[in-house]
Symmetry: C2
């Protein structure tokens, strides 16, 4: 079938997974469904303890067996040790056919690629898939198609029961021996444990792994003991230096500064910029510069932000400290400044990823978002955005909260240079649709700005503002005039990845890449 | 059948409810079960709003119909307006056969008794049942047997699916228009919303009723918007003067002071009184006096409490402020001092009732409790305690957290005067078993102290301590010698109430009282 964004989704695939093709961002609004539920083991006897001597012992007590689904969070990012520590034991136990359901996977998890080749891991469900795992997927090594979901889509899948987690592993900077776990307080602080909160409630078994055991009760907990089966203490849960970067890059790049200026002006002139507005921005150079540029305007007009959300960086925390932001609601700390802020500023709050972006609960934070600034690998003339497959067709990105915030916000702004090297960013047709064009409102490039024709309100608001606004086809034409019309990437027929929409329908598929040569990244 | 505490439970009743008789406090330890789950309505479209104009509109939008289960919390205690406001509309809509599942019901809810007579309300599930509702139950007016559960037992029943809530009503001191609700901040502060937290997650429909609407986001929330369908603003959710009493009674009663001294000494001499011990006490005169008496001993021995838990009063908050208590984990504020404390002291935390006492989650706070001081209407020579039926056989009490803390703690201490008026507290056989004797460790009266023979460790610890320790039969004999052997209360055969053990098995039944005369309370 051809879905609402014009992508052909094989009927056989839809039948196999019991899925529909994408029918629109709000197609499931008001739908009633029964939530999923875990099978849990009661701890009635107060003499029961939870601490185990090793990850192996935890796996044994949880009854690890072939075919299970194991879940992980990625708050430690490139510094994560948990996935590899657990999977090493899984491999040692001779277990096969494991599905890894992670909030994201990156270069830290390259060893998993070998487990894919050996059939230990046969399923991957994740937002980000980078490094060797991405290559293994794109070259057809994984037995089943990888399922790529947004952050909101992942928790939806868990809460709706599309994926049932057998064992959730939660790397926690601190925990007490009964499983009250926090994102702060140890030698490997990660700020929040937002991605794990849903896993803890919906997984049958929950194992907390920490390198800092603290006295009971470890309060206030990110993860409550009432959901935790076992606690395992290890030497190190991650490499603090790689968990987050201390250095937030303040851009001096002229292209980035120009795009940041465009963004700032677009926000200022929009009908949503008023006291109590809300905002999400990323950690990219242009995004961060917008924070800095907005500040004097907010001060001058006495406009305060009601809440900032998302992955959080220090510049936003500075606005909180300055009183210009009333609340930060944090689903991921992107730098050490954010971690310090959540420890010290009582208006900086941890939220669950369900509260952040689950489209099928009773209303997530993204529904209340005014502005979001997002990146893109490609944007096409239908405003569809690709943030997953690279220009070589290989899976090397992550939807993250991109489709969630785009769908929920009043004004989603994509910021990207018009060309990168020899690659046009604005193009006829993105390789992979990750965020549907109907949810994308403005595209800002260094060569001009395109506004989605659906947003007549915005087009009207910007009339005569002097910004270089044009049709998106014009941006494509400029891009192609600079770098030429790109060749189509050659794929085989076999589907190796499924891009699930945040509501669980299928937005696009990723097909196996034709092997010219194997490129080591 | 005769259950483990020697009570005859009609087989027909067990079959009708698919229940077992009580088999021991820890019989279900390690049991695996699938948790319940609600059917929810997705709020995908960010344009959806939740505020409704009236309780009637909320009921209509939730699809109220005959036979539904409506839930309520009792943080407003005798000042609650919510139950009556909602039930008045239910009655006005002509709906019948409603079951009220409340965390407690009291004199504030006397109007419900008339709805019982009219068949609007045909089921009551609650911890406390006092006032006219209790009389209506005991005199056989309710169509189905009332189900009396402890606080932990109630959330277990919800989480295990024994009761499925159709609509949960949450009276909230503050809420934003999207349903983030808090126990503090308005004109009717109640401190915490612990009892509602489980209702919000397991009910199909959730309605927040507030008299103080605040800007979005109302953070940190006790109840998250992701679980809330509708928000209704009313003039008043309760009478602040009756929500909590400002005056904590510091007893000057000689009997109470003597019992408090016994308790304090028993705690001090026990093997569990050491740095990091944990403690729950009630709001009674003797209980509060123990707080005061323990303080100099803790100071002298440099012993700190790791956590205090339960219904919280100001004297405990004073110990927190003084640094003698490291954490307060609060499931109910008993006075204004506790409400002020949770607003101002960052080591005073709100917990859900599941975290407090659910016996079938993966380990609740009561499992980590060292000492609890509890009251009793009656204690028998098997140490069984009755806190539900009065000396006239009428339902007029509440298990509350009594069975939960007794089962979880290392040392449960019952404090009660040996006789009250013409009624002996220690007796041959309690009218109703609410807390099984195996979970009761020490009984302290003004005439002496009895230790459960099962607790050989405690008996040994107190050898030669000089306290008036005796056999419980001796206490009974003294009581009977003062007031005479009590007559047995006359009941009919019909079961009007079921005392459910915290794990869902049946501990005892309450039968219809023989009507000599109807006594207005």
């Amino acid at each position: 079938m051809i879905n609402q964004v014009g992508r052909e989704i094989p009927d056989e695939l839809l039948a196999r997974y019991g899925k529909k093709g994408f029918e629109g961002s709000y197609a499931r609004d008001d739908e009633q469904y029964r939530k999923a539920a875990p099978t849990v083991r009661a701890v009635v006897d107060p003499k029961q303890e939870k601490q185990v001597g090793s990850i192996r012992e935890a796996l044994e007590k949880c009854g690890l067996k072939d075919g299970m689904v194991l879940s992980f969070h990625h708050h430690f990012r490139d510094g994560d040790y948990i996935v590899n520590m657990v999977m090493e034991q899984v491999n040692a136990m001779g277990v096969k056919d494991i599905t890894i359901c992670a909030s994201s996977l990156g270069a830290a998890h390259d060893p998993v690629a070998a487990l894919i080749e050996e059939g230990v891991v046969t399923g991957i469900q994740s937002s980000g898939v980078r490094g060797k795992i991405g290559e293994a997927i794109s070259y057809g090594k994984l037995k089943t198609p990888a399922i790529i979901r947004s952050h909101g889509g992942r928790v939806r899948a868990i809460e709706e029961g599309d994926v049932h987690i057998d064992i959730a592993f939660i790397g926690a900077p601190t925990s007490d021996a009964f499983g009250n776990a926090r994102g702060v307080g140890g030698k490997s602080d990660c700020g929040v444990l937002s991605y794990s909160m849903v896993d803890a409630r919906y997984a049958d078994h929950v194992v907390v792994i920490t390198d800092c055991l603290v006295p009971f009760p470890n309060f206030p907990p990110s993860i409550s003991m009432v959901d935790v089966d076992y606690v395992c203490v290890v030497d190190e849960i991650g490499n603090p230096a790689k968990i987050v970067s201390n250095a937030v890059r303040m851009t001096k790049d002229v292209r980035e500064l120009k795009m940041a200026e465009y963004c700032t002006r677009l926000i200022e002139l929009s009908p949503f910029f008023k006291d109590g507005f809300s905002f999400q921005t990323g950690a990219g150079g242009a995004s961060l510069a917008v924070n800095t540029m907005l500040r004097p305007i907010m001060e001058e007009k006495d406009i305060h932000m009601s809440f900032a959300i998302g992955g959080i960086t220090k510049p936003m925390c500075d606005l909180l400290d300055a009183g210009l932001v009333r609340n930060i609601v944090d689903a991921q700390a992107f730098d050490l400044g954010a971690i310090e802020s959540i420890k010290n500023n009582p208006r900086h709050f941890e939220i669950s990823t369900s509260e952040y972006a689950n489209p099928l609960n009773k209303g997530a934070f993204v529904n209340k978002l005014d502005f979001v600034i997002l990146g893109a690998l490609e944007v096409d003339v239908d405003f569809n955005v690709n943030v997953v497959t690279g220009s070589d067709g290989i899976v090397r990105g992550a939807p993250g909260g991109h489709p969630d915030t785009a769908a929920g916000s009043n004004c989603s702004i994509i910021v990207a240079p018009l060309v990168r090297g020899r690659i046009p960013t604005v193009c006829d047709k993105v390789v992979t649709v990750v965020t549907p064009g109907e949810a994308v409102d403005i595209v800002v490039t260094d060569y001009g700005i395109a506004i989605n024709p659906r947003r007549t309100d915005l087009i009207e608001a910007y009339e005569g503002c002097g910004l270089p606004i044009c049709r998106i086809e014009e941006l494509r034409d400029i891009a192609y005039s600079i770098v030429g019309t790109p060749d189509e990437i050659q794929f085989k027929d076999r589907v190796v990845g499924i891009i699930e929409s945040r509501d669980g329908t299928i937005l696009d598929v990723v097909r196996e890449i034709k092997e010219y040569e194997f490129v080591e990244e």
